[in-house]
Each structure stands twice: as structure tokens, then as C-alpha cells.
């Protein structure tokens, strides 16, 4: 018999042990602070209707009981004093930032009345529907936009993973992910899953410990680096050159898959000729990577079969040549015969909300309630025709420009969900543009700086206070139930959208049936139903889901105009763009703009994840903020020495567009000559220092990850 501890008698509430004595009950939900690939299962410890602790759900195969630092902070997220408790309407002057409460009925009626009037006066396209984070309400919002008649549904995907998807679609008609754990070699290109997709790294580490070869590409040292066989520390913005240089080695040494290339690709001769320009000496000079490492990496990737390429959602495309750089990277997959092969990059279409697990739903059919050709052109369609051809939404980065120009038609209202103007390059330009609208609505959890600009603010609730459908890559599915009552008068985003639909698109046959019925409609091909899923509070792991075969192209070709993998893109050629994955220097770099580099000699890369932050979503949580209270720029000690800086010094980081005051974090995470800073700090918004038109010409993506700056000790 174990003796009871003598020093501290068991205090059940202190230990938060769930049982009858403590009155603590464990209820199941999910976290939705970060991206939909994660959204870990949560055990919410609830006492008297209040969450007093969270833990990862052990029986959820995705996170298996674990969480990340953000997920562990959910209580401060749910109960933050900045939570909006009632619908609010702007009081007095539009720029006052002052609000007064209003009832839901009044708020929704105002929205209905104003937006319908604008539709009559200026056409439905003058109203934009925007979805930020999280992404769970997107299918419903997109359908509402199109049923209302507007082509202008857009989202945070205008800077997220859609750019890389676009590039892959140009090459292959689709994007394919590495089939772990079957890969024997993993080429990890500019991504740090330890901080961006924490729930997945447990399994990645298990695979790496079994001896998989890992090549890491990226300027920063990450937790992956110590596990990598080779680390190619490129200068930011030179991914394309490195990929072409690697291709040159692979082709010259005859390591490419000649059978695949001959039978299933177009444009190989032009591509081969072009890669010939990327000699080792030149590639090394451009990228800063030693020649011997380029050769070693090219050989290791090309000869270790099967091999997968793992890229981040956007680090490779946040450059002014982002799409072409990413095309050059993914071209290596086909070149080496690893596309849609077992253990290579395996093509499985997403099932629901970006998750790939072999299931098929009707999400796309649900969202597109009206075909594009029955609606006016989308925001950005004239400038980014390739984006609009391949990505089924408007390009949100162009929104401030069209608000200002009124061309080709005026934008009068934005109905935003979780909108943050700091996502845009030149965030002040976006902020001022939003003020020019006739009507701005923001649905949010917190009174954010963007919400303060709105005419109407509606309170959303967290994942703990609502019901939603969530798929996992592990073929696990959950329909969550609320574990606590919504705080104040806050409501689930979906409920708000369906109430708006009753006013804006009352004739939509699906939206008028309601939320749960729409989810059932989307789920139909899976045979799953919401009512059945309700019986499994922590979710249900599906058995025997048939996975698609490998090498599907052998049956139906590639989903490209030529039906083949395209080293030279037909879609780009038709749009008058160079069809080869051509490398170009970043818009601002020591090579492309030496005159700017004279005054701003440091390469600035922004937005790499920190483990405790996901965009702006956890800045306000005291537990998290205490771990890194001040905005910091990562800087190599060598660069600091040249500027007489000590660790923690306050510095002025400046670009041609402005400056921010941050602290110097002296670290070898960054190589000499490159500095790295997290985005979205309210008091040190780095996007203010980037021109609003510093963009990739194909996707409209901002060049967040390669530009120029200087750092000086702050006075």
C-alpha cells in the first residue's frame, strides 16, 4: 500500500484531478488556434461550466495526448478580457474607435439591409466576403458570397499555402505531399514543422531516428537542423537558383528518371538547357551554399529512392519571384521520378478543409454555388489571371488597390471574419484603404486593431463554445460539441453566416436548411452523418479507407493543359509569362538593387514561426507574452559586433519605407548578413516596412521573406 504523502495532503482541486470529489469533468473538443492541419484534440477540464485546465486528447491519433504551447494556453485565449461580448455598432465619428452594444437582430438586419442596397446600387461584386483565421467557416462563407452573387470571396489563403499550390498546379495540375514514413530521403525546403505543425513532429522524429536521410534547405537553423544530414543555408530568395543548380547536377550526372521524363513531361529540352546556366560556381555564388554541399545534396536526393520533398506552406513563395522559385523546387520531384510514387510525393486530393486522408467530400461543389462565368471578374483577376484560373477565390492582397482605384469596379463593403490588416504588406496602406469603404463589418473574438475600424463588430466564439466537423490526416474524424456555453452573447461563426444567409441569399436551397444539414450534404460521399458522429465525443477513427493508387497519371494523365508534367508551363505561356521556372533575384537584394543595399545592407526575412505565436493570435495571452515580452529581431553576433550591439539592446530596424523599434536577439539561428523578425507585433509591425506592391507578379503574394534593411542602436 502506498503511503499518502505527509507533507502536502492531496488537494484534488489543486491537482485538478477529474472525479466526483473535485467536481471536475473532462469534455472533448479541439483547439483551433493554429492551422487546420493540426487542430489538436483537447480534453477540457470543466468545473462549474468553466474550463480550468486543458490537455491533449490521448485517443486522438493526431496529437495523442500532446499539445503545443499555444494549445496549452487555451484558457487565456477563451477567457481573455478583450473578448467581445455583444454585437457592437460604431458610436459617433467613424474613426472614433468607440462602440455601443446592439442586439443581434438589429446588427444582422443592418448588415442585410446595407448589403442588399449596395447590391442593387453597385452590383453584388461591390461586396467582399473575407475569411481570416481560423478556417472552419470558409465553405459556408464562400457559398454565401456566391449565392449573394459576389465573386469576391477571399481569404488569408492569399498569403498562405495557395501560392505553393498554384506553382505545383502549373507543373503537375496538383500538389502532392511526401508519403511519410515510407520516404527514405526527405528534402525539407524552408519549413520548420517543429513550430508550425507541432503535432506532426512526433512521428517525423520517429522516422528520422530510424535512419531516413534528411536534407534541409533554408537560411535559418531550426530544431530540424541537428537531425539533418545536409543543411543548405541559402541566401533568402534564392531557392529557385539552388533547385536549378541541383537539377543541373542531376541531369549532367544522368541521375534523373529518363523514362518518366521522356514519357510524361513536356519542355524538358528547354529546361535542361536552362539548368545548364546554373553551374556549380554560379549557383554557389548566388545562393551562398558551398559547391560541394550542392553536389552532395543533389546526389543524395536523386539516388535515394523513394524520396519526398516537404515544403512549407509559404516560405518558398513569399518572394517577388515566389511562384517560379517554387516551380523550380517541385520540378525536382518529377525529374527524379518521385511524383505520385510510393514513398515519394504521393498525390491524394484533400478531403475537407485542406486535410488529406483519402476521403472525398463535396466541399468544393458546396462552396461554388454559382459558376465563375455567371459572375463578374474577381478582385485581382485582371492582374493575376493565372491565380484566378487555378485558385478558386479572389486575390485579397489586391483588395486595398481596388478599394482605392475603383477599377475595374468599385468595392463598397467588406464583410470580414477574423480580418487583420497587418497581414498585408504596407499594412498601413490596407488600414487606410479599409477606412475608405462605405461599410466594414468584422466578426472576431477580440477587439483587434482591425475590428476597431469596423462599422459593426460581431462577437464570435472559440472552438470550445461551438460544434464543428474536423478531419485528421490519420483518418480520424470528430464532430465537436460545445464544452462550455458561449461567453456573453458571442456565437459560432457558422451561425452568424447562416443568419446572414437568411437575409442575403434566402433562396439558396442548401443554406436555408441550416448548418448541420449543409455539413451532412458535404459529407454525403463519405457515408458519414453528423448525428452518427455525435455518438463519439472524442472522435472516430475510420477503418479501411481505400487510398488512391500510385502513378494515377498513367491512367488519366496530369491535370495540366498538355496532360503531362510541364517543365514549360502552358498556362503561363498563355498568360504571356515565361513558361520556364526562371530564377530572378528578389526585388530588393544586394544583387538586384546594390544602390539600396549600400544604405540597407542586411537581408531582411520576416514571418518565420516562433513556437509560441501563430500570426497575431496569441500575442495578447499573458502566459505566452511573458516568454518573449518584447518584439525581437534575430541577428548574428558578427553583424551585432559591427554595429556595437549587445544582447537585448533596443535597436531601430529600418527599410526604405520606415522603421520599427525592437530588441536585438543575438543568435546563430540566422547566418551573418541576414536578420529575421516575426510579423504582426502590434507595436513593431514589420509589414509596415514593406511596400504594398512588393509582390510576386504571378500569384500576387508579398515578398515577405527577402528584402533589405539596416539596424542601428536605438537612441
Amino acid at each position: 500500500m502506498p503511503t499518502k504523502p505527509i507533507l502536502s495532503p492531496i488537494n484534488v482541486l489543486k491537482g485538478k484531478i477529474p472525479d466526483e470529489k473535485s467536481g471536475i469533468e473532462v469534455r472533448k473538443t479541439i483547439c483551433s488556434i493554429c492551422n487546420p492541419i493540426s487542430h489538436c484534440g483537447i480534453d477540457a477540464y470543466v468545473k462549474d461550466g468553466v474550463v480550468i485546465k486543458v490537455e491533449g486528447t490521448r485517443e486522438n491519433p493526431h496529437n495523442a495526448g500532446t499539445l503545443c504551447s499555444k494549445g496549452a494556453a487555451n484558457r487565456q485565449y477563451i477567457y481573455h478580457p478583450d473578448r467581445i461580448m455583444t454585437p457592437l455598432i460604431k458610436k459617433g465619428d467613424r474613426n472614433s474607435g468607440q462602440f455601443e452594444p446592439i442586439s443581434w437582430e438589429e446588427a444582422l438586419d443592418i448588415i442585410g439591409e446595407r448589403l442588399l442596397r449596395m447590391r442593387d446600387e453597385s452590383g453584388p461584386e461591390s461586396v467582399v466576403f473575407y475569411a481570416g483565421f481560423p478556417k472552419w467557416m470558409r465553405p459556408f462563407l464562400k457559398r454565401l458570397a456566391h449565392s449573394f452573387g459576389s465573386p469576391n470571396y477571399c481569404s488569408e489563403s492569399s498569403t498562405c499555402s495557395a501560392g505553393a499550390l498554384l506553382a505545383s498546379k502549373l507543373n503537375y495540375g496538383a500538389a502532392a505531399r511526401p508519403e511519410l514514413p515510407k520516404c527514405r530521403c526527405l528534402l525539407v525546403w524552408s519549413t520548420n514543422p517543429f513550430y508550425s505543425n507541432t503535432s506532426a513532429v512526433r512521428k517525423l522524429l520517429d522516422v528520422m531516428e530510424k535512419g531516413i536521410k534528411v536534407i534541409e534547405v533554408g537560411p535559418l537553423i531550426t530544431p530540424l537542423t541537428s537531425h539533418a544530414d545536409i543543411h543548405l543555408r541559402i541566401r533568402p530568395g534564392t531557392s529557385g537558383a539552388l533547385a536549378l543548380g541541383m537539377a543541373c547536377v542531376i541531369i549532367e550526372e544522368g541521375l534523373h528518371d529518363q523514362e518518366f521524363v521522356e514519357k510524361w513531361t513536356v519542355g524538358f529540352d528547354e529546361y535542361r538547357a536552362y539548368t545548364g546556366e546554373f553551374t556549380l560556381a554560379r549557383t554557389s555564388e548566388i545562393t551562398g551554399v558551398p559547391s560541394d554541399l550542392i553536389v552532395k545534396a543533389a546526389r543524395l536526393y536523386a539516388t535515394t529512392k523513394p524520396a519526398g520533398v516537404l515544403n512549407g506552406p509559404n516560405a518558398t513563395v513569399h518572394h517577388t519571384n515566389g511562384v517560379q522559385n517554387h516551380r523550380a523546387i517541385t520540378a525536382l520531384i518529377g525529374l527524379t521520378g518521385n511524383f505520385d510514387r510510393e514513398g515519394g510525393n504521393y498525390l491524394v486530393p484533400p478531403s475537407y478543409l485542406y486535410v488529406v486522408n483519402g476521403l472525398t467530400t463535396r466541399q468544393q461543389a458546396f462552396e461554388q454555388s454559382r459558376p465563375w462565368d455567371e459572375m463578374p471578374p474577381r478582385v485581382g483577376e485582371d492582374l493575376y489571371p493565372v491565380w484566378c484560373r487555378l485558385i478558386p477565390e479572389a486575390q485579397a492582397i489586391h483588395l486595398p488597390f481596388q478599394i482605392r482605384s475603383g477599377k475595374p469596379y468599385p468595392i463598397r463593403a467588406v464583410m470580414g471574419f477574423g480580418m487583420n490588416h497587418r497581414m498585408w504588406p504596407g499594412s498601413d496602406h490596407m488600414r487606410e484603404s479599409l477606412k475608405m469603404l462605405d461599410f466594414l463589418v468584422d466578426v472576431d473574438l477580440f477587439m483587434t486593431d482591425t475590428a476597431r475600424l469596423a462599422d459593426l463588430v460581431l462577437p464570435a466564439c472559440t472552438s470550445f463554445e461551438r460544434s464543428e466537423l474536423k478531419f485528421y490526416p490519420e483518418q480520424h474524424v470528430i464532430w465537436t460539441g460545445p464544452v462550455i456555453e458561449p461567453l456573453g452573447e458571442s456565437r459560432p461563426d457558422a451561425d452568424i453566416i447562416f443568419d446572414m444567409a437568411a437575409r442575403l441569399a434566402p433562396e439558396d436551397p442548401l443554406l436555408k436548411k441550416g448548418y448541420k444539414e449543409c455539413v451532412d450534404w458535404i459529407l454525403k460521399p463519405t457515408g458519414l452523418k453528423v448525428d452518427d458522429l455525435k455518438r463519439y465525443p472524442s472522435g472516430y477513427t475510420l477503418k479501411d479507407i481505400p487510398m488512391p493508387p500510385y502513378r494515377k497519371y498513367e491512367g488519366r494523365g496530369f491535370d495540366t493543359p498538355s496532360g503531362k508534367m510541364e517543365f514549360t508551363s502552358t498556362v503561363l505561356e498563355e498568360a504571356g509569362i515565361d513558361p520556364l521556372p526562371r530564377f530572378k533575384e528578389p526585388g530588393l537584394s544586394p544583387w538586384s538593387t546594390p544602390e539600396v543595399a549600400g544604405e540597407f545592407p542586411l537581408i531582411l526575412t520576416t514571418g518565420a514561426r516562433l513556437p509560441i505565436y501563430v500570426h497575431s493570435r496569441t500575442f495578447r495571452l499573458p502566459w505566452i507574452r511573458r516568454l518573449r515580452p518584447d518584439p525581437m529581431v534575430d541577428m548574428n553576433p558578427v553583424d551585432a559586433q559591427h554595429r556595437d550591439l549587445s544582447p537585448g539592446d533596443w535597436v531601430e530596424l529600418s527599410t526604405q519605407r520606415g522603421k520599427v523599434r525592437v530588441r536585438a536577439n543575438l543568435t546563430e539561428i540566422v547566418p551573418p548578413g541576414t536578420v529575421n523578425i516575426f510579423h504582426n507585433y502590434p507595436g513593431a509591425d514589420i509589414n509596415k516596412l514593406i511596400e504594398p506592391d512588393y509582390l510576386d507578379p504571378i500569384s500576387g503574394y508579398p515578398g515577405f521573406k527577402s528584402l533589405l534593411c539596416e539596424i542601428r542602436k536605438a537612441s
Binding site: 553576433p637 558578427v638 546563430e668
Partner: protein
């Protein structure tokens, strides 16, 4: 107690090769223990950088009270405010006896003791209430890379971290 009647010392182990410095353990500790104002919780993560460009190695360590075999804090405490608990060897503080002299902090190789607003020492107690119920400490449960473990000291040294149920 184990079969020989000796105390089974429970402690943390960390596989440094798997620790990514993600801070989940630090925040889970806060969520479990609701640290009072002025205290950041009982666990910290440090980044250790060795070398200089281009030959660099960066690792992370998660640190808290390891329930040492011969705890120096117990030896130096002038009032006997630090003791081991009976059944699992967890090093405990008796707040009423603490005079806030900081001797324990000077002696601790891990910097584990923390001093809050009241001036008295408090520290990680390995989530003893959970351990008594057969649960792991909150920091161990949360660890997304399974780098952090908790168990009998003799086993902790030998255990291969990694995937478990």
C-alpha cells in the same frame, strides 16, 4: 516504496535530441498550477548555442526540479523547509517554515526554486497530486516530441524516449 523497502525516486528525463524548445511544457505548467502574479511557472526552456557560423549547433533543454538524489537545497535550508515526500521521493517545500533566505536557489544546479510576491520559496512539485493518481506531470503529458519523461530514476536513465501510446 519498492520491494526492498527503499524509496523509489521519481525524476524527469529529457532527450535533448528531441527537445525543440517549443515551450509547451512551460505553458502546460502554468495551466496546471495557475502561477501567482510574479511567478512564471516552475519550468523553463533554455536555448544553448555552440560554435559560430558556419559550424553551429543549437539545442534546447527543459529544466525544472529533478528531485535530486542528494538534493543540495535540502542540505542548505536552514529551517528544514525542504523535505522529501514519503512515498515517491518528490522534493517538497513547507511554505510555513520558509524564511525566504534564497540559500536553496544558490545551491540548486538547475535554478529551480522561485520566489513569489510573498518572498517565500516555491517550486515544481512534479505535479504530485497527479502522480499520486497515476497520471504524469502536466509538462510530460503535453510534450509534443516526447522528449520529456517522468518516472523512477533508475529507469529514466535507460529509457529510450519516443513514441508511446
Amino acid at each position: 516504496m519498492n520491494r526492498d523497502g527503499h524509496m523509489t525516486r521519481l525524476t524527469f528525463s529529457l532527450d535533448v535530441s528531441r527537445c525543440s524548445g517549443c515551450m509547451a511544457c512551460v505553458v502546460a505548467c502554468m495551466d496546471q498550477n495557475d502561477p501567482p502574479e510574479g511567478i512564471l511557472g516552475f519550468r523553463s526552456v533554455e536555448r544553448i548555442e555552440m560554435g559560430a557560423y558556419p559550424h553551429v549547433r543549437i539545442s534546447f533543454v527543459s529544466i525544472s526540479c529533478f528531485n535530486c538524489e542528494n538534493p543540495p537545497c535540502i542540505m542548505v535550508c536552514p529551517t528544514g523547509a525542504i523535505r522529501r515526500s514519503g512515498n515517491n521521493g518528490i522534493v517538497q517545500t513547507v511554505t510555513d517554515l520558509c524564511i525566504g533566505c534564497h540559500a536553496c536557489l544558490m545551491a540548486c544546479p538547475f535554478g529551480s526554486p522561485v520566489f513569489g510576491g510573498a518572498g517565500t520559496m516555491t517550486k515544481c512539485n512534479s505535479c504530485e497530486e497527479r502522480v499520486d493518481q497515476g497520471l504524469e506531470p502536466a509538462c510530460v503529458r503535453v510534450c509534443p516530441t516526447r522528449a520529456l519523461r517522468f518516472g523512477p530514476a533508475a529507469r529514466a536513465a535507460l529509457e529510450t524516449p519516443g513514441e508511446t501510446g
